[in-house]
Symmetry: D2
Subunit: 463 residues, 4 copies
């Protein structure tokens, strides 16, 4: 959980390249573009058809890679991975891509998502003598592949894929191939692009923009694509089922300049803001966003409201996630370190604060106080998604039920807790209405609605 | 020079605290708030009345300080400093605060600004046997103090201050005192605040907001203030002269949520945007900013224009100043890594891009291309300050004359170079009109106008 | 290979403790005493009956451990490991103890020795889907245990042990037990001691001396001992066979103050020196050693010779194994950096240099030159073991056949290469005569004689 | 103080080279040979006639230098320095060579020794406005030079040299010159050698051996030599006085393979051992040394005794000066970690332990116990120098009077404290008799006799 921002974490971002000179350099650039999806560790594995090399490290992409170690990652195939924070000691262990030697060669994996049956699969594998190196569910997939009796790596991966359940946007690297795979529900995004004659897949299309690649289409729900010297070949190893795209990708996770699930995030967020204003506008002077994730949403809100869009909160981008808690004698907080109010804008105004979601409520509570302290006459909070009441088993990192502020509290109780003059959430209907619906797009809304598209066999494991 | 952003660098930010428990913790928080003024190194020196301790390091405040080393900086007095990039090897040497032992005790110094006669002073001091540890002009001040024949540290500092010329907002720490000093023209900002019974000075008031301090007033031009157990005592060691506040602090450097030279930066920038629209509006669909420094200016522009404010460029805040130049085979640039376009917003629109200044023109040229590539029909560039034609000798880091794009080029030539449909700069008059004028406020506009308020004796030295 | 010293490397040292408070502290001290057996990496794993913790690192024991990380290794059970240099990238990967989670719990392993069938075992395991983390043969043992169908960890280890061939002195740690195991031939030493009520096993008894433990006896050839809350229980899972103790442990590897294979190394080395003098004494003034490994041998030699024992070579103990090769313009060598001659002792003397072995001959050649340069009239080389003609598959790291100077060269040819006045090796008979023979002690002399006690199925793997 | 060994520390070793290609590589090798004189930090400064570069670091020479940073130290002139441990925070600050820019150029200094009037000189310099960077007395010399009114650097150094008192073997580097200087009493050694056409000076001649240089003579007491493109020129800036060579250099500090003060250390130590046996032999079986510093002395002793020379103590050279104190539950000590007994040699024997000196007595006390524990019937301690009763002000680091075991204790009381059967020190006369006397050599014996050749004005400062 990103405590300072009071937002859920997304576990990861992935990228795969086939066919460029220095594929690792492209992967490196794409990981920069996907840095928001994971900031704890990053890694790249590359192959020149003969040798597979890798470089992984803790921290940001820019901390890990340098001219020399990027240069050492030779070849026309590369996969890359950004990973979000997991607990303590296991962090370094769980960096991805994981690269193993198995009977038939070398295999690297990068995984965005979360398996729902990894605990029972792991138990069964250990009963047969498998030794696990990491605590990730991604490693389960590798063991299933290593144990598969199929002949080719493509068939082995299919075999393994049919045994796993849950959310998985996967990139695999072998000496000769890039193989990508998306779960049948398509929980997490995975886009396919072209860069000259080369192919690229990435969690979000903003990675394509950076290197001048063109977006072709999404990897389909349940599709597996193999890229090698013969070109690109598509398979559908799963039975067809309904899509269940994570709606939170539109609400918060993805970059506004990305296309995911076939639509610009920016456009969807603007629509969320408009719907929010239509449902719950109030007479106010200005509307401000909690930068940067709700900027577009607040602009959308102001388009359907008489309140003027203003910049009332300044975000300090130099402040990372670690910061020394000052002693009690010092009156401040990590929220104040991250956000400051703009005095001239807020004084004597009736203010609407637009945010995309509330998890624990700790941050927005402090922002309401700060805006009041800066002289606002009224403070109204508007949230562009419904109350979050349920955990996610498909790749978001939420606190427990107990910590979710909307669990067992009415909206009025939450409003009182925040100290706001009013609080409104967007309705589930209003949220879904803002989403692209063409081609039968359907969404997972489990964290809001409690309707889980895939059953969870196990206690949640870490990925 | 900040190459990726094509903006001049400000050399430093300073803070001084007298009278709180754990003054260093307050200094640490304030350095976070002033991080935008210098990102190469940071440091804090503290005194508990008997022992002086310090901690300096290369990198961001959050990289340098941790719970333990902050705790080791004991006492009720502290000074802190953020420093901008200087060249190579001398970087670590030149970290501040510089703390020395001299005849009468310990003295620490933090300096924002640039001396204009440091070279000749240094030569004279070396002729008398002084040995310099750093290549900063700030150390010259220390040697002048150490050599002063005056009796008290206060008189020694006055003595030294009268010998130096140029821009200096200074914080000094001794075992028992915090002493602050601002040059007679007040080139760089320096605000005075109160936190309970304690005093604080800082380059910008956003540092006060963070720790809950109240802004009292600016340290006056030419004022020296001594804080010790007897309270606060003000001196005016210089002859009175006209103020010459750096106008670029309002245009670009300072945070929008700060008050400098007695006014909210945000308000001034909004006015710059309005004046810019009044002078040079054009028929367009949308106006976008180059985030984040020109956000408010673009909002101001849209308020006087028929073009709607939109978010058309997304800035990747994870990308630092160092980044691996990809090989020539890869088509991208550090500018694209830093900024991406929002496809849905720009396509088929007539776009006005508002930026605060152009130095070399490299970044805005690439942004114009990127916006066109995203489908914009027209791209018009509007700059909220006049063409920059001259170097600064008072603390900004510009490229040489030859590299300044406005040197020896007409606006139309620059427009052609950028590939924009039109380019307009705000007039000098329009810029000054946006500035606060109460109380005889006057501004240094040397980089635009070539009128230098203080003569420069020496080749520019590094501070 | 230790190039500067021109000696084979021993792969490792191991230690295991059961029953003391802070077992890890004892393990840490013992690893110091066993540092000569491996200097590339070291590690300790500890258990308090519930939690297993570990700390591993590259470098010397004193580089890796500090007050804090030793304190974190809580519990009454610990195993430790020093490891010798292996090639490049795999080094960090191959640090020991390796600690894994398997179906039934946690298992740590430390291994001294080398398996002779690890390649074929590994291939078979990979065919059944096992994924290897390291390139050590030690990991093969873990996979065999994890895959064993036996019920208890004791039976699983027995099951695995019966499948492996070669040299292995092993220490295992589980949550509740310390288990140790020595191969049927007892290639590598493993001593059993007592410290109050606690038990300790270590590669050499000098580890016992350091912590005040008492030597009880050796772990027998083919013996497995389990230490847990019920005390100590001994098993013999293998068929009985003849011992084949590595004779090189006496000649060079072990510390002179250790007892191995039941005898003081010092005593054996003195006997080697005496036998060497009896076989090949020559009329000379002084006998000097190549410090420190042949000090005792040279003393023994002088006891049976008219030549007086002197200190003619000084070893610089600060010089580690890495050292910058000076440019060709500089006339020196790593050997000269490591050893200097004592001018006053050597001048105008007829000198016997006693060394324990010659591998490539590079070092002794330079020492002969150096001794001549220091003014010696004659230089005679005496080696306390026979010519080394064959590789070792049981845990010593030799160069290839081609690089062994005694391969395809007569003693006279070697003498000419060294530039010595005479060269004599101890005979195989003379060497074995110096060894303890009680209780049917027998020795592996394969590197001298070519007689290998255990067949080697595979290409040599790395351990 | 080297606590584990219970020996005084020597503060430093110095080297200077003029005239070789890659002088820094030669300096680097020499620093390896002088590592025993200082292990806390090391540094090299080099000049190619135009640019001066330097590299300093904490730790051993092999930790600090690598292929790249040595390569960066270009030029035909170099000075190098090894430094011993000083207290805490000031350590990194006080690394040498110190390199400064002064009025007339660049000056580097490396200093072995200790000034006796540095405190009063420093006070006077600070009164005139000098700012000190370090807490070393060496920096005083630099300030005296920077302040000198003489015209040339040679005259400035002479001017400064005449103001300082005490022990100083100095190497200076300028852009064009190497200048070396030895105090009038010649407390510390400084040898002059030749390497082809190039010149070299170093604390000990073992540095010459390593790079193939030839020993010419010592830099004379009170001599200053300037090396530049015109060759070598000698000056004698001081009034002539009696030599006062540190006798402890022969007793303990210098390497046995070095010539200092014109004589091989080895030879002198052998004589010390012989004299010791002549004065205080006892009926015993064996004589053992405390390795490695008293090896030769013990050999000398055995030559005049019926006791046989044996190796009864093994020193673990991997154990550095830092080591984790085990908890009280563990019965061991840093002495036991450093030295182990050889059981087979000591059991049932009457043993003479020869050591060169006793400072606190802590180490020898534990060695006596250890030797008894190994079964010795009798343990007699013989020391090859008189009781140490006084501090040194010329470059050795002793504990305070109170901690010196021989201060206010009779030899019998010390013997009782050690638990030895007998204890004898060599007499002052016996020690001096072992020293070379040709050419009027005279020695400082202040630590034994209390007769100080140079008056000490100040409290001892740190160098």
């Amino acid at each position: 959980m990103n405590d300072i921002l009071d937002k859920p974490d997304e576990f990861c971002g992935v990228v795969g390249i086939y066919g460029t000179t220095d594929a690792a350099v492209n992967a490196y650039l794409c990981l920069h573009a996907l840095q928001h999806r994971g900031q704890e560790s990053a890694g790249i594995a590359a192959s020149d058809g003969i040798n597979v090399t890798k470089k992984l490290g803790m921290g940001l992409v820019s901390d890990i890679f340098n001219e020399q170690n990027i240069k050492d990652l030779k070849g026309h195939i590369a996969i890359g991975h950004n990973r979000y924070s997991t607990t303590g000691a296991s962090a370094a262990l769980n960096m991805q891509p994981i690269v193993i030697k198995h009977r038939d060669g070398i295999l690297g994996i990068g995984h965005n998502g979360n398996l729902c049956n990894s605990v029972s699969l792991k138990r069964a594998l250990e009963d047969r003598g498998s030794i696990f190196q990491t605590t990730t569910d991604s490693e389960v997939i590798l063991h299933l592949i290593a144990k598969s009796l199929e002949k080719t790596i493509v068939d082995k991966i299919k075999d393994a894929a049919r045994q796993i359940k849950g959310a998985f946007s996967l990139v695999f690297l072998t000496r000769k191939k890039l193989i990508v795979l998306r779960d049948p529900h398509g929980f997490r995004p995975l886009a396919l692009g072209k860069l000259g004659d080369a192919f690229i897949v990435a969690s979000e299309t903003s990675a394509f923009d950076l290197i001048g690649a063109t977006y072709l289409r999404d990897v389909e729900c349940g599709e597996m694509i193999v890229f090698d010297e013969k070109g690109m070949k598509s398979y559908h190893p799963f039975e067809k089922t309904d899509p269940a795209h994570c709606i939170f990708e539109f609400v918060y996770f993805s970059r506004p300049d990305s296309q995911i699930f076939g639509e610009y995030v920016d456009k969807t967020r603007r629509k969320l803001g408009k719907n929010l204003a239509l449902e719950s506008d109030i007479d106010a002077d200005i509307v401000i966003s909690v930068p940067d994730s709700s900027n577009t949403t607040a602009l959308g809100y102001s388009a359907r409201s008489s309140a003027k869009y203003e910049i009332g909160l300044i975000r300090n981008h130099y402040v990372g996630r670690t910061f020394i808690k000052p002693t009690q004698a010092i009156r401040t907080s990590s929220v104040r370190l991250k956000f400051n109010t703009v005095g001239g804008v807020l004084k004597d105004r009736r203010v609407v604060i637009v945010d995309d979601s509330i998890v624990r409520g700790t941050t927005i509570k402090q922002l309401v106080q700060a805006v009041r302290l800066a002289g606002a006459k009224e403070v109204h909070v508007r949230i562009s998604s419904p109350p979050i009441k349920n955990p996610c088993f498909y790749g978001m990192n939420f606190p427990t039920h107990e910590e979710l502020i909307a669990n067992n509290r009415t909206v009025q109780e939450i409003c009182d807790y925040l100290g706001a003059d009013s609080l409104k959430y967007l309705s589930l209907k209003g949220m879904i209405d803002a989403m692209p619906q063409e081609g039968g797009q359907k969404y997972c809304t489990a964290c809001f609605s409690g309707k889980y598209p895939v059953e969870v066999d196990d206690l949640q494991s870490d990925s």
